[in-house]
Amino acid sequence: MKYGGYMGKFLTVDLSTGATGTWDTPDEMAEKYLGGRGFIAKMLYDRLAPKIDPLGPENVIIFATGPATGTLVPTTGRIAIGVKSPLTNTISASYLGGHFAGQVKYAGYDGIIITGVSPTPVTLVIDDDRVGLRDASGIWGKDTKESQDILRAELGEGFEIGAIGPAGENLVPIATFMHVQRAAGRGGSGAVFGSKKLKAVAVRGTGGISVGTPAEEFIQGCKEMHDIIMANPVRPAFRYAGTTGMLPVMNEVVGLPYMNHQDDKAPDVSFIHNEEIYKYVDKIESCAGCNVFCGAVVEFERGGKRYRTERLDHESTWALGPNCGIVDLPALMEANMLCDYLGLDTMSAGGAISWAMEMTQRGLLSKEETDGLDFSFGNADVLAPAIRSMAARQGFGDLLARGSREAARLVGRGEEYAMQVKGLEMSAYAPRGFTGMGLSFATTSRGADHNKAFTVAAEFLGVLGNYDRYALEGKPHLVKTMQDSTCIIDSLIMCMFTVDLGIGIDLYAKCAALPTGMRFTEADVYTVGERINTVERLFNMNEGFTRADDNLPPRFAREAAPSDPGHHTLDVTAVMDEYYAEREYDSEGVPTPALLERLGI
């Protein structure tokens, strides 16, 4: 590897045979795909035959870091986990923070390629270049917290650990892989671990990362980035109350989905104001190399029990809270904790529960069908039993565990109330109130995902542009460029929050250039991002996705949010031709030969 920041090789593990080895990271892959999400796009596209069973032996788990991971570039404690998603059948990369990512590089690897199926439950233990599979039958069945606690005690100092919970073991398509309480949450990678009998991964590295820029210049460049974030006026809000600060703001401007997206404003969000959330904080926590500090340990009581766990974040609070009409903060903290420990995606779990609630509200689902559980909007007491039954795949929980769309299909009704795209449940931004988010949900490769083009930055916060939030005019271009630039954040890998904290496109280019020593310009940000999005698109096309899949649930085109005085609706198909033209896709959404040639795909 001729560039700095990379370790030059991936660890390969064949779970079927127990064989381990390495695969050299190609220079060309670094140049064209940068790292993280880009590596995953390229490697899964190259390695997976179309239409394989995501939970069969052919699926591959790829852990990928980026060239900035674990270096002094701020917020680079994140790692990407790529699989073909058992929830959506799309390509899927999800990301987790904490301290796991850096250790993979310090151990000497850009990532890990995991193939095959183990005959018995195992933990992959990576101790620098000593790699082995360890019997995990003793922790199989245990939750993510207990599994990690046991491994931490057994393996000794310095190991960073991630594990699946019962949900992943039970092949729940919305299962996560957890490191402490950081989740590779979306798209169900945890089920792929479960299908491979891979319970946990532990990694410790004593080596270092060499960079492609002279040391003093590198340190100075990184310090400038840190200083920009530290000086940003938004940072203290993250530091104080985590990521939930935006929820009341979104609600105030009629941009926060309520009761399964029936409205875009909740009557009461006072219970999740910053000062309410902060009341429970015991200690501020951060990922490696981060100075934003959105994490914290909280202590709370519910049902006579006292818990010490991770603070709620924006999306989990919304998905289980306002989205379900629930206003009980300790109930949300408990539900969030249960999802983390059992290994369920809080967002898809919330989306599946809110679907059941709307079905109940409309008289389309009876209590007999829900095993007697009361899925009325606002019923906080249903969260814990619903989540437990989903992880265990018991009764009605076995339906919900498959996500809202599949649950509707199995029940045989109510698919229009499954608020998802391509099977992935939607996030805490109202498409009717931020049309760019709607177009992004409809077109992003892994389904409805707020983090792949956070257009609210340009539609509301005045960062990276200034657009009318309701109009569709200009949105195809905005969504396309943000989808492309976000690929760089996901490939370096940095934290998405840096977008809100003063890191612009020029600085992301610098964050790529500093560790690698590549000449990396703003134009390269967009070109590499375009390449990554296009390869992800090709992967999905091979899976049979078509133009018809780039759409939102029908509600948004039919109904305005009752709280919206402007009565806005949203039909993103009105601008799909324009979006495809921006992307140089043909009218069916297929990348044109000219585009593939220009991008060297």
Partner: protein, 136 residues
């Protein structure tokens, strides 16, 4: 006499101190080899923060343990210095003091020298969990 002081209640476990220390001293980001080690109580979930760094009390166990003169006390700056040329890699210093680290790749013994009077770990700590100053 002064040393880097640690406030466990302020530390968020970002470990940036370990990154900058190793980058500055080795030219590679190598947290395991940093002169300062953020060391969390691992028997508990989200356990108490801890930190290992030379406390500069200069009982000089490391110096005394060194069979050659690879570790030498330098009175002018009041720190212990390491000379790689003389080190035989006997690792005796590591045995006698938990605040001594070693870079596996180069074999270099790592011990805090206060960055010649301007400790970078203190400068980079985003929460002010690290500080230093002359004691009375």
């Amino acid at each position: 006499m002064s040393h880097v002081e640690f406030d466990k209640d302020k530390c968020t476990d970002c470990r940036m101190c370990m990154q900058i220390c190793s980058m500055h001293k080795l030219g590679r980001v190598t947290p395991a080899a940093a002169c300062i080690q953020i060391d969390r109580e691992r028997s508990k979930y989200y356990g108490d923060m801890g930190c290992r760094v030379c406390d500069m009390t200069h009982e000089r166990a490391c110096v005394d343990a060194c069979p050659v003169e690879a570790l030498i006390y330098e009175p002018d700056l009041d720190v212990v210095r390491f000379d790689a040329e003389l080190c035989t890699e006997c690792l005796a210093c590591l045995d006698v003091c938990p605040n001594v680290a070693r870079d596996v790749k180069s074999g270099r013994i790592m011990i805090c020298d206060l960055c010649d009077g301007d400790p970078l770990c203190v400068k980079w700590c985003p929460e002010g969990a690290l500080s230093w100053g002359a004691e009375a």
